[in-house]
């Protein structure tokens, strides 16, 4: 079975912590796949392995059938993988507009020479990038704050800006690390709609990590549950919700 993203037996440990152990996970084109698990389960670590920020100790990750071993982070972005960050990694002292233009820049063929001499191609690319960035900001309802510094936004807007920036690189696969963290109930409900709209408009496949069960249950087609670095359950939302092992893992955390 090959989908858009496939992980086979991925493991990584940090000193004494086995953050991931033999994780296998499959995401098919067009799906929204959920990844849930208690704090410290290894969800963010998994994202870091997929984006190449961390290198797994063992295991294989393929994207669109292609083995990602040894592929650098920025190359993976070019292959169509984008992500948002749980701990918000915005370009703080840059404007909202600039934040969204950077990924577009990353894909444009402009060189410093073209920039320095303002060659016509550079001017054209600049206009195109700005137009597209503004369109994305409009899509995520951020156009009003386009000229503000990213660091000055409220958390809800910053989360949306993370989304806008991730979409700017035109990804096929979007990794969302707790996009609802810090949002209130209304914003979270809106987020679910935004995710559906994104899938509809951009045809993006998503892997969604969040602690908000309602959001995950509502949006995801398929859910994986991670606990202490291991997949302990997987299946459609109803199945996972009723799985005693999952309940155990979450209750164990509460207790």
């Amino acid at each position: 079975m090959t989908g858009l993203l496939d992980l086979y037996d991925v493991s990584i440990r940090f000193g004494g912590v086995q953050a991931l152990l033999d994780v296998s996970l499959h995401v098919r084109t067009g799906e929204i796949v959920g990844l849930i698990g208690p704090n410290g389960a290894g969800k963010t670590t998994l994202f870091n392995c997929i984006t190449g920020v961390l290198r797994p100790d063992t295991g294989r990750i393929t994207y669109d059938g292609r083995d990602l071993a040894g592929v650098k982070t920025h190359r993976r972005a070019r292959l169509g993988i984008a992500r948002t960050f749980q701990n918000l990694q915005l370009f703080g002292r840059m404007t909202v507009l600039e934040n969204v233009m950077v990924p577009i820049d990353a894909f444009s063929p402009r060189t410093p020479v073209g920039d320095a001499f303002r060659l016509p191609t550079a001017r054209f690319e600049e206009r195109k990038a700005e137009e597209r960035a503004r369109a994305l900001l409009y899509f995520l309802d951020l156009l009003d704050v386009a000229e503000l510094q990213a660091a000055d936004l409220a958390v809800g807007m910053q989360r949306r800006l993370e989304l806008a920036r991730a979409l700017a690189s035109n990804p096929d696969l979007l990794l969302l690390d707790e996009p609802a963290a810090g949002l209130d109930a209304r914003e979270t409900a809106e987020l679910a709609d935004v995710l559906f709209r994104i899938r509809e408009q951009f045809g993006v496949t998503m892997l969604l990590v969040d602690h908000d069960m309602a959001l995950v249950m509502r949006t995801c087609d398929h859910i994986y549950v991670l606990d202490f670095g291991r997949i302990i359950s997987e299946g459609p939302p109803e199945h996972v919700r009723d799985d005693p092992q999952v309940i155990q893992a979450y209750l164990g955390e509460v207790a």
């Binding site: 920025h74 002292r93 820049d105 320095a116 369109a135």
Partner: protein, 344 residues
């Protein structure tokens, strides 16, 4: 930026350029040569506007890069009778190449350790590479190179005013190019790398390539300054490019602020004219200049962290340019249509 603010900015730039051209016409040749040196030092400050302002990296070896430019021009023009322009080009490229080389460890090191490394580089140049006996065919050994003044499209640059106009013109062009870089993709990308490396790389930026590019550009600017100063002074000797010069220029760049292009001419004038003012009008000799710079540096970091020029520029701009009203969407190209067009 509002139209008003833009008018003010360009008027100010125009007036500045006009003054820069006209004032030296009425000065003594000595002061004109100082003005040339100030323009050349301005190029080095500009190299720090790129490196520190955009990438967030401090360097204490900019004068070592300048030395590469100076000694390349010196040895090629005076030693091998090359055409000045060709020698200058080689010098700038050579400096850029060394800049890239120095940057390679930078890819792994955080800012602090890179700063130490640049001191190491500066001392390696001063004390070893350019010392007599190490590489005399480049450094000229104990007798320093004496390259003559070039001519510019047939116009001789022997006169101090002509030469000043020449270097001032080069400074302006360099400032314009860096301005374009900063406002274009390059500036945006470099600032993104400075703000968050992990985010920059996950959106598709090749950190290695961009950092090397920034160091290369910065070193090239310093190399250009060096090549020009070799023909300004008419000689290239190691003492003019030592560690202390690099430290002082880094201090000045910090004091005037590395966030604005205007800092380049201002910083250059600071380096050359403040000592002159001290000598002429205060009881302190020019040798107190580094002391004054050090005190200013300490005070400004404790009290005005963005630098004097940036601070005052921002204050002026804020007065002229109250917070922008929310921009309205362009009706002719509705966002949906643009998305549909560009997202394929």
């Amino acid at each position: 930026m509002t139209a008003d603010a833009r008018v003010v900015r360009w008027t100010a730039v125009g007036v500045g350029i006009a003054l820069g051209v006209l004032i030296p016409a009425f000065l003594s040749n000595f002061l004109r040569s100082l003005a040339s040196d100030a323009a050349i030092a301005g190029l080095i400050v500009l190299s720090l506007v790129v490196l520190t302002g955009l990438v967030g990296q401090i360097s204490f070896c900019q004068y070592s890069f300048a030395a590469i430019g100076a000694f390349t021009v010196g040895s090629l023009v005076a030693g091998h009778h090359w055409e000045f322009w060709l020698a200058l080009l080689v010098g700038v490229c050579f400096a850029a190449a060394v800049g890239v080389l120095v940057a390679i460890p930078a890819l792994r090191l955080s800012g602090l350790f890179l700063a130490i490394l640049t001191i190491g580089v500066a001392l390696f140049f001063d004390r070893f590479l350019l010392a007599p006996g190490t590489w005399d065919s480049f450094s000229g050994g104990t007798s320093s190179w004496r390259p003559g003044r070039p001519s510019f499209f047939g116009i001789g640059l022997r006169g101090e005013y002509a030469f000043y106009l020449f270097v001032f013109g080069i400074l302006l062009v360099a400032c314009l190019l860096v301005w374009n870089l900063r406002t274009g993709k390059t500036g945006r990308v470099l600032r993104a790398v400075r703000e968050s490396e992990v985010a920059a790389s996950t959106v598709g930026l090749n950190l290695t390539a961009w950092k090397l590019t920034a160091f290369g550009i910065s070193a090239a600017l310093a190399g250009l300054a060096g090549g020009l100063s070799a023909v300004r002074v008419g000689s290239a000797s190691a003492g003019s490019y030592d560690f202390l010069h690099s430290v002082i220029i880094a201090a000045i760049a910090t004091v005037v602020g590395v966030g604005a292009i205007t800092s380049a001419p201002v910083g250059g004038m600071f380096l050359l004219f403040v000592p002159e003012i001290m000598r002429a009008w205060t009881p302190f000799s020019t040798q107190w200049f580094p002391f004054v710079t050090g005190i200013l540096l300490i005070f400004q970091l404790v009290y005005a962290p963005d630098g004097a020029v940036v601070d005052s520029e921002r204050r002026i701009m804020r007065r002229l340019h109250p917070p922008a009203p929310p921009p309205t969407a362009d009706d002719t190209a509705t966002p949906e249509r643009v998305l549909a067009r560009t997202s394929t």
